[in-house]
Symmetry: C2
Subunit: 379 residues, 2 copies
Amino acid sequence: MNEKTTADLEKLRDLIDGVDQQLLHLLRKRLDLVAQVGAVKHAAGVPIYAPQREASMLAKRRDEAEKMNISPQLIEDILRRLMRESYLNEKDVGFKQVKHDLGHIVVVGGEGQLGQLFTQMLTLSGYSVKSLDKNDWQRADALFDGAGMVLVTVPIKVTCDVIKTHLTRLPDTCILADLTSIKEQPVDTMLLAHKGPVVGLHPMFGPDVGSLAKQVVVVCHGRQAEAYQWLLDQIAIWGARIVEAEPVKHDKAMQLVQAMRHFSSFVYGMNLCKEDAEIDTLLQFSSPIYRLELAMVGRLFAQDPELYADIIFAQQGSQDVIADYLDNYRDALAMLKSGDRDAFVAEFKRVAKWFGDFAPQFQHESRAMLQSVNDMKTG
Amino acid sequence: MNEKTTADLEKLRDLIDGVDQQLLHLLRKRLDLVAQVGAVKHAAGVPIYAPQREASMLAKRRDEAEKMNISPQLIEDILRRLMRESYLNEKDVGFKQVKHDLGHIVVVGGEGQLGQLFTQMLTLSGYSVKSLDKNDWQRADALFDGAGMVLVTVPIKVTCDVIKTHLTRLPDTCILADLTSIKEQPVDTMLLAHKGPVVGLHPMFGPDVGSLAKQVVVVCHGRQAEAYQWLLDQIAIWGARIVEAEPVKHDKAMQLVQAMRHFSSFVYGMNLCKEDAEIDTLLQFSSPIYRLELAMVGRLFAQDPELYADIIFAQQGSQDVIADYLDNYRDALAMLKSGDRDAFVAEFKRVAKWFGDFAPQFQHESRAMLQSVNDMKTG
């Protein structure tokens, strides 16, 4: 670069720095205004996530952007990122308390990650929450006395035992709820152990989400829905969406959605390890899509093996689903080994047809993802 | 909501709308300034992607944000998104031409998606590009006459045949290059067919990337590197990073990175189809992580089956890698069926150890991804 070029670039970069300063001030102002919206909603007990308002606001901005020759997707992406930030900040003001005459809440397994998250959310909403961990059973009766709700969030493998052994003498009006990622057995067991209101919940997210906005909580009704409706309303105020489900249907879906998927990722990591692949080399040769897929496998192994063992070993039916996948894999490999390219293409087209409109939709979605992966590159 | 709440929210939303107007104006201003930077760089022939400038700029903004009690990650994410937009816009001003006395370029397979992308980039950089498609062989000699470079981008299965049959009488000084996703055979074949400069390239991205900024292009040197150095410089000006590789090592990595991975996604889709899973239901029960994984599988089936057949059937060695995965899957299933939870946990820990620092790094990366997936939800 010659001196003129360097000087020109320097001058422009100073101007850009100036724009970025203004940008920061504007962000501060917007975050403050949205925090005020949060406070008003908090006082009125309105859910923090308003899909329609969000959609209409984004549509307006996209229009305005287009008139200024700015890509509508750019402003949408920036505003979505800003909204996420505002949802995270909602926690600072707390949430409206829906039920005032509940008595206290006992979280069984309150020291676990999910237990801590729900304890935090309930506390931020004004409830009195007590934790009961596995060494606390001697003081269980004292804790349960006067409790308005007992929320069970212990490892899957002990959930039913804990319910059967320890939760049979709750006050009649006390709500018994659980957060287990399977639902048929825990809900049945709760219904047997307790005569009062029973509800099964499955929060469809990890404990590391910063906010519950837009997350999903599956609800399996047990008994006396009117007694725990406030809890569903409370969860909606946190920003999550309630999805009702039959326990059997839910559990069947989880075999595919959780057990089979996690198992495949586990085997994929095991396979890389056995091939003794060099991760560095793989990353160097990685397109954004492979980098993302590798990250999705690698993230598994940064987490608690017991948690994944729980999920994978939880349902007998998962083994069948996993075995089916193995059979399909074997068939497909035979097709590959026979060099039958036409059969591959025909099968590909058949599956594509089955995916229908979801295939292009997923392509569209994942393209945005892959662009974000690329944005994050630093060298 | 009572009237007071509604009025309060209305007032705040008007203020937010006002901030968003200012935001749009600021974005317009920043895009214009960065376009000016692009024009200066264009004139000087400086690559559009400057990692160090980017890193130091982001570090400064993060500091400033922190002082204003704004999350540093927020401003970083917004600026990265803005930079992506600016890279996309670089195309509008074109790129500095590195080599002026080349003669014209012939793209063999110029009607294909990747051929079109390279034709566009070369044209934007001032080169004269002619396309030669599979029905054009009768005018090949006329096209090759005076050509400075012939770039081959035809399906893998015919690449070597096309080179052997049609590319043996190029001018001696003409560069012969290819864009095939395997490298050993094409480079060897080019070296046999042509006496002049030869280079193998593998662009590690799909043809739907909007910009080459931060993308990777693998280079396998063939012969007379000094004659095609300008091409590597030209690609760097487009913003891509050049990674040199031995063809054999590259191809081996591709068995894992492309063939095995695409094959697994293919089987996963086939499996969903055979189980006749309801995608709607699965999505309803999906955490962000599963939604992303489903999208990564589904996107495959929105694309050309021939392309994936090409990649999967290209290398004999891929079958071994795929067969190894099947073996590992079978062993892991046996462990699951025997109910040996301890063995699962032990194996999990062993793989986690092998991943080492990459596991938490991948977890960190994918968390950002998953948050973006959640941001995109609309209901």
